[in-house]
């Protein structure tokens, strides 16, 4: 290699001095398809390519953290607040806000000074207030959190708060961590945890989870993307195995953490039947013969049929009683029968024995009916085998 001239050396030195790693993008990205991660590795090592394409199927979305030395800290903090938002539980948010606030005693016990840490605590407190306000207004969209975390000053304050809590936790529980460290714990905390831009390592992450996150009951899982043998990323749970209301899922690639989201929707789907009934948007008839609705079309038009006192108490299961995030439309909105009868119990083959009890008012004018009769409009995706479980209408007639 030819020697470089002093001018060239000088130029290179200057470039080197001014070098800043090319890190693009926001501190916290919006949710994006995990296919982007798979695309990054498409031409890489076959193990990585296989693992990332499998990952895109099981964990369809992800959120990319800026690799600025705080990505692991930021991923956990953001994931924590984001889960609090999606649970939509105002009480939980208040409980968590006071739990985190109470951890200030840890800071005091290790000698942190309040006049120095108060601005960090304030920043976290502010996020809790924003969360509470959002939940009270029924806002589920996390854009405001993303925005909050993309304000660098604000983001740094929250991360510093979490760093200091982690450091204090470690200093108060040295026996749990010292064996995993290559230096005295105090030195580790000063040089790796309390600093402003030092990447989190495994011991630090475990301490962050133990000291700050675990009290929430949330689970924290890491999915390791590496070249180890296998076709899927290796999962590892950092929290004790227990039922958790929420999971913070981290994707680890050597030196970098991002957030991952599982493919299945996280909405609370109980009881399933009401959603399928209420959320139907496809009104094409399906599989009429199997249900034999036509048989009952006459029955269904009998006015006041359901005023039979023997039914009334049992009718209520039709109304969704769960406090679901979705407003489930009442049956009236979904299904309008030709006459103003009670539009309940649309599928009611076994109803016949019961109608003997109340003398139904005389049927004077039956309107002209289409040959189909009142259609039960179901989502065509409802499988037939599911029907007995997923249609509530059988309940009123049991006993």
């Amino acid at each position: 290699m030819a020697a470089l001239s002093p001018e060239e050396l000088e130029r290179f030195q200057k470039l080197s001095n001014e070098f800043e790693p090319d890190i693009q993008g926001p501190l916290v990205s919006v949710k994006q398809s995990s296919n982007a991660i798979a695309a990054d590795y498409a031409n890489a090592d076959p193990t990585l390519a296989a693992k990332t394409s499998a990952l895109a199927v099981t964990h369809s979305t992800s959120r990319i953290m800026k690799g600025d030395g705080n990505c692991g800290w930021r991923a956990v903090a953001f994931g924590y607040f984001e889960n609090l938002l999606s649970l939509q539980d105002a009480l939980l948010i208040q409980r968590e806000a006071s739990r985190i606030k109470s951890l200030c005693t840890l800071l005091d016990r290790v000698g942190q000074q309040e006049h120095l840490y108060e601005i960090f605590v304030d920043a976290t407190d502010q996020v809790f207030s924003e969360l509470l306000e959002a939940v009270n207004q029924g806002i589920r969209d996390e854009s405001f959190l993303v925005e909050s975390f993309n304000n660098e000053y604000n983001s740094s304050a929250i991360i510093t708060h979490f760093r200091l809590l982690t450091s204090a936790w470690m200093k108060l529980n040295p026996h749990r961590y010292q064996a995993f460290l290559s230096m005295p714990l105090d030195q580790y905390c000063a040089t790796q945890i309390e600093t402003v831009k030092t990447e989190i390592d495994e011991v630090g992450l475990q301490a962050l989870v133990d000291g700050v996150i675990e009290g929430s009951g949330f689970a924290v899982e890491i999915l390791y993307l590496d070249r180890s043998v296998g076709e899927a990323v290796t999962p590892h749970l950092l929290t004790p195995s227990r039922p958790s209301p929420a999971v913070i899922r981290l994707l680890y690639r050597p030196g970098h953490y991002d957030l991952l989201y599982r493919a299945e929707p996280v909405v609370n789907m109980t009881p399933v039947v009401n959603y399928q009934y209420g959320m139907t948007s496809d009104y094409t008839p399906w599989d009429q013969t199997a249900l034999g609705f036509d048989m009952n079309s006459q029955l269904m038009t009998i006015p006041n049929l359901m005023l039979d006192p023997s039914y009334t108490l049992n009718v209520t299961p039709m109304v969704p009683t769960c406090s679901s995030p979705y407003r489930v439309p009442s049956p009236q909105e979904v299904y309008q029968p030709p006459m103003q009868t009670q539009p309940i119990a649309p599928v009611s083959p076994p109803v016949t024995p019961r109608i003997s009890a109340p003398p139904p008012p005389p049927i004077t004018t039956l309107p002209p009916r289409s040959s189909e009769g009142p259609q039960i409009r179901l989502n065509p995706l409802v499988m037939k085998s599911n029907l007995s479980r997923s249609l509530p209408v059988t309940t009123p007639f049991k006993k």
Partner: protein
């Protein structure tokens, strides 16, 4: 500096954006101010012996002047050294720039007063502050880090010839009143 800020803001294609930027910058400035005021208050309420710090008279809270006195039983015993602090806009998430204004002969300080100390660089923590930095510098005077010196001669003399070292310290020193 002010002009360049104005230029970039005026030329920003999206006016809305630059407005948002400047409002969040204002909030940041408020936080920086709040933090520095808290530090100043602490320094006044519980002063540490041998050090002082105060914002410059120009009303800009982002630049301070400080002094430390040399610890006893070190070559700097009895000397008062003046320093300047320049705080960045994102303080305390970046360290302040600290310079010795008093000429000082020390292995970890160069002839422009620049200091080589890890806590003022990559080991900076947002809980460090004017007081803790001054205390660290005070102890650096008596315990130089000779493994990575800015002034190699001083590092060598520290190990080999304390008397000559002390002579050079005193020769370089100027009284605080004489320092700009």
């Amino acid at each position: 500096m002010d002009y360049t800020m104005e230029d970039t803001q005026n030329s920003a294609p999206d006016v809305q954006d630059s407005k948002l930027d400047s409002s969040s910058q204002r909030n940041d400035t408020q936080s920086v101010t709040k933090r520095l005021q808290a530090e100043l208050m602490q320094l006044m309420l519980s002063p540490s012996p041998g050090l002082s710090a105060f914002p410059n008279a120009d009303g800009n809270l982002l630049s301070w002047t400080a002094t430390i006195t040399g610890p006893t039983e070190t070559p700097y015993e009895g000397l008062t050294l003046k320093l300047s602090f320049a705080f960045p806009n994102n303080y305390p998430y970046s360290p302040p720039t600290v310079l010795f204004k008093t000429p000082i002969y020390h292995p970890n300080v160069d002839f422009s007063g620049r200091i080589c100390l890890d806590i003022l660089k990559d080991k900076w923590s947002a809980v460090y502050n004017v007081q803790s930095v001054l205390l660290s510098l005070q102890s650096l005077l008596g315990e130089p880090n000779n493994a990575s010196p800015l002034n190699a001669q001083a590092a060598e003399l520290w190990e080999s010839d304390q008397e000559e070292y002390k002579r050079l310290v005193l020769a370089r020193h100027r009284d605080v009143e004489d320092v700009e």
